[in-house]
């Protein structure tokens, strides 16, 4: 087997709970942010994005909050389901139009 992901921070929740995944970004000049979900053996999947002129954006069961003052991004997942179990990455777009990814958080949802 592989030892991938053993160093990832992990959030364990019960099915039906709300989940909050946090991310600190580094570049105060970044103006575009994305959350990705990566399931085992698959590529990262776009969930939701937000531009720096907003502080909140809602999707279906997901909400992204942006606090530019402290360079903090969060992803809230309402009524978490077992299918939400995955590694979640935040990414910031720097001034060179390049996405810089965070280290990832593993979300484990128990039935």
């Amino acid at each position: 087997g592989e030892s991938v992901g053993l160093h990832l921070p992990t959030l364990s929740v019960q099915e039906g709970d709300n989940s909050i995944i946090n991310c600190a970004y580094s570049n105060s000049a970044s103006d575009y942010f994305i959350w990705y979900k990566q399931e085992s053996g698959k590529g990262p999947q776009f969930i939701i994005d937000i531009r720096s002129n907003m502080d909140k954006r809602q999707g279906q069961r997901v909400t992204v909050l942006l606090n530019k003052t402290v360079k903090h991004l969060s992803l809230q997942i309402a009524a978490t389901q077992p299918g939400d179990s995955a590694v979640y990455f935040c990414a910031e777009m720097d001034g060179f139009q390049k996405l810089v990814f965070g280290t990832g958080t593993r979300l484990l949802v128990s039935p």
């Binding site: 698959k42 590529g43 776009f46 390049k98 996405l99 990814f101």
Partner: protein, 111 residues
């Protein structure tokens, strides 16, 4: 319909060999990327091409050479493979307004 596809999905080879990974996107995007994901799930951009032109080259060794025959394809050729090249390689593409869409990944194992 697959948006971003990569071949092969798995690649096992000996040190010193040369190998290629192919990527195609049918989203009509102008920009394509190669990312490397290490064993700790850390995702880092390697290259970015816009309309067949190299935009980003993230201090990747010269042994890695991307080639874009047209804007729907971005292939990655790797010469003289080393043990440290073992990772999962993701191709991605993006349009003007949204984030990047990733392929399913190619797991490269160098023995």
């Amino acid at each position: 319909d697959t948006a971003v596809s990569q071949t092969p999905k798995y690649l096992v080879t000996q040190m010193g060999n040369d190998k290629s990974i192919k990527c195609e996107q049918n989203l009509g995007h102008d920009t394509m990327y190669w990312y490397k994901q290490d064993s700790k799930k850390f995702l880092k951009i390697m290259f970015s091409y816009n309309n067949k032109e190299l935009i980003i080259n993230e201090t990747v060794p010269n042994r890695f050479s991307p080639k874009s025959p047209d804007k729907a394809h971005l292939n990655l050729h790797i010469n003289s493979l080393e043990l440290g090249d073992s990772a999962v390689y993701f191709c991605a593409s993006s349009g003007r307004l949204a984030g990047e869409f990733f392929g399913p990944g190619t797991r490269l194992t160098v023995l």
